[in-house]
Amino acid sequence: MQKRGQMAIIIIIAILVVIAVILLMLNRGSLSIIGGEALSPHSYLTSCIEPHITSTLSTQLKQGGAIIPESSVEYEGDKISYLCYTSENYKTCTVQKPMIKSQVERELAERTSEKSKSCLDSLINEYRKRGYEVSSSSSKTSIDIVPGKIAVAIVSPLTIRKEGTQSFDRFDLSIKSEAYELLIIGESIVNYESTFGDSETTDFINAYPNLKIEKIKIPNGIKIYRVSSLTSNERFQFASRSLVWPPGYGI
């Protein structure tokens, strides 16, 4: 009898422990851990900003480099900007958006500055919750699309005091992306379109084996180019209308 009673108690305690662990795991986010791990501003900001940048960039790339395309054609539900266009037949196109990489960077930085500010505010609040004294001033965000990544620079002087003092002038974040290659190849294709009226996609594929380049022809002589990375699954697409041969004698 005594043994049975002991067994029962052990089983009850075990069940209670399991329930406690399950509750702990479910509420991990809302529990403050006593003596918690050190807060890394770099990691915090990266995890806060990265989803926004990835999503904004994906939209830009899908729409020919613009969040709100100004001159575009609709294809498969997407509004795709013209990077090179002519309204005439038998003529090569005029470049509409030179330096597309720079334009994407500029727009991405504009769209990210609000988010950077809110992430910084959130970081400051987190420090204050942990008993730190924080002083900060206004921030400025710049974005550089380079090979293999998006380099985000948030210039924001920040001083954190508790037992010691830590000062930050800026935060340099890095987000993996193959956008650089996609955009540079896009610029190259536009150069061919404006000079020769067409481009040979297999030339690029041979030089860049990790890219897939598709050329889709839609009515009225418009081409949709899709440059996709086979390693990151990112895709840049844009429209072009160049050297169009109209049906019949084109009268």
């Binding site: 090979p147 000079t195 594929i205 598709e214 002589g221 041969w245 109209p246």
Partner: protein, 491 residues
């Protein structure tokens, strides 16, 4: 038989007749309402406040095309209007500035034929010293110049640790990773060579190296070592000396999906990629060839023509709505690229003999049909340097009595709108006068034009008609007949 006159009026000659709708004259517009720069459009399409001129854009000052220079990336974009360049933040020049002159930019063991500023930009992005050779005038020479560089271990001290980077002799001497730290170079030795005494050693990790086809071992410092060979993973000699591709495992084979050898070969259809299968390997030689396509198994890079419609090609009887398509095998996938609509492009195909068999290549090329019907001589008609036509012998057409020159692939037409289709098709209209002589006691005999009474004549006229475009009795690309006969014989 009554006297027969066949009359089909010849209604048009190259579109001079038939245009009745009023067309608004175009102007050169600096910016249109659709935010397009420098377009020849109707004046009503111009954005408010933008410059416009009643002439072609090439003749205006505000829409002259020039070169837009990106000072940060060192990239020059031609055929750009000044306004578009200014909006993008570039510097516009009427002709390409000297900053756009290309030379050979050496980037480690690779090269790029780019401008000096671009070279500086690429070098800084890859952490290298700028090495620009302006005396090398061609891309081919540029690539050849880096192919035989000495490569080996560059040993240097970093924060009191003797470490190493596998690189070229030039980079080792100029400064490792773009810094001022110069190392000691050991040709044809790997960083993991024990005699070098560095902190770099063997590991089981693999990687793809930039610009290389193969899978490489990675040492503990992150340097690529030799080509992955599972049988040599713990071989001290294999981790000491540099092995060439031909000295590595299975050099003649693509080693596609091999778990033991990473000696990939792009030209044979394999390339280093992340492994998608659960093989325990991070990287393998991925098979780039296509096992199954619309033309059977094909190699990576091959392309071929497909014209899957109910008509025929190259005989002047293409079906309505049909289109040429070019298929490619790229990265193990069959990609379809359409040639221009309305058969304004046709697909041409040929094969090159290689050591592994024929290699197919196809291209979409312009269908030069426009001046076929004006040719009266067979030799001119079949001149493939200038036009894409076929000669139909024995058919009187136009000024020719012994044959008709018609498009080899009949062009598509917008027959549902406008008058262009009518103008094209009516060129095949024909009038044939048949003369009879009445007999004294009744009856009549055909004296001239008797060939027009034969079915052969009707068939030949029909052939010419269908060859000119989407004219005459035809089926569409899925085999459905048109609603009307497509021709009419009037007596």
């Amino acid at each position: 038989m009554n006297k027969i006159m066949m009359i089909l009026a010849i209604a048009v000659c190259f579109g001079l007749i038939g245009i009745v709708s009023a067309v608004e004259p175009t102007v050169c517009c600096e910016k249109t309402k659709n935010n397009l720069y420098c377009q020849n459009v109707a004046a009503s399409e111009c954005a408010a406040g933008s410059a416009q001129a009643p002439t072609a854009c090439d003749s205006t000052s505000f829409c002259r095309l020039g070169t837009c220079y990106d000072g940060k990336e060192g990239i020059c974009t031609d055929n750009t209007p000044k306004l578009a360049c200014n909006v993008a933040g570039g510097v516009w020049n009427e002709s390409a500035p000297p900053q756009c002159n290309a030379g050979c930019c050496v980037l480690g063991d690779q090269a790029a034929f780019v401008s000096l500023v671009r070279c500086k930009r690429l070098s800084s992005l890859y952490g290298l010293q700028t090495n620009f050779k302006k005396n090398i005038a061609s891309e081919e020479q540029c690539i050849l110049s880096v192919q035989n560089q000495d490569r080996g271990a560059c040993v240097y001290d970093l924060e009191f640790t003797r470490t190493c980077k596998f690189t070229t002799r030039e980079e080792c001497g100029a400064g490792v990773n773009g810094s001022s730290v110069k190392g000691q170079f050991f040709k044809n030795l790997l960083c993991s060579a024990p005699t070098l005494g560095t902190n770099c050693g063997q590991s089981t990790k693999t990687t793809c190296a930039p610009g290389k086809d193969e899978v490489y071992f990675l040492d503990t410092c992150g340097n690529p070592a030799n080509i992955y060979d599972s049988s040599k993973a713990n071989n001290p000699e294999y981790w000491t000396n540099v092995k060439t591709k031909s000295e590595s495992c299975n050099p003649g084979s693509p080693n596609s999906n091999s778990v033991s050898c990473g000696n990939c070969n792009y030209l044979s259809g394999s390339y280093c990629r992340q492994s998608k299968k659960n093989t325990g390997l991070s990287y393998v030689c991925a098979d780039l060839n296509c096992a199954s396509t619309s033309k059977g198994p094909r190699k990576h890079g091959e392309s071929w023509c497909i014209s899957s419609d109910k008509g025929t090609i190259n005989q002047g009887s293409n079906s309505v709505g049909s289109r040429f398509t070019k298929h490619l095998c790229i990265n193990g996938e069959e990609i379809v690229e359409q040639c221009d609509d309305f058969r304004q492009q046709e697909c041409i195909e040929d094969s090159i003999q290689t050591s592994t068999g024929p290699f197919l290549q196809a291209a979409c090329k312009v269908n030069r049909w426009q001046d076929c019907i004006t040719q009266t001589e067979k030799q001119d008609c079949q001149n493939i340097d200038i036009r894409d036509c076929i000669w139909k012998p024995g058919i009187a057409f136009g000024n020719s009595t012994d044959g008709a020159c018609v498009p080899r692939n009949s062009p598509g037409l917008k027959f549902w709108e406008g008058s262009d289709a009518l103008n094209v098709c009516s060129q095949a209209n024909a009038v044939c006068q048949v003369t009879y002589e009445k007999g004294v006691f009744g009856g009549k005999t055909c004296k001239s034009g008797c060939e027009c009474l034969a079915e052969t004549w009707q068939r030949q006229r029909s052939e010419v008609c269908t060859a000119l475009g989407d004219c005459g009795p035809k089926v569409n690309w899925v085999g459905d007949k048109g609603f009307k006969e497509g021709f009419k014989i009037t007596r």
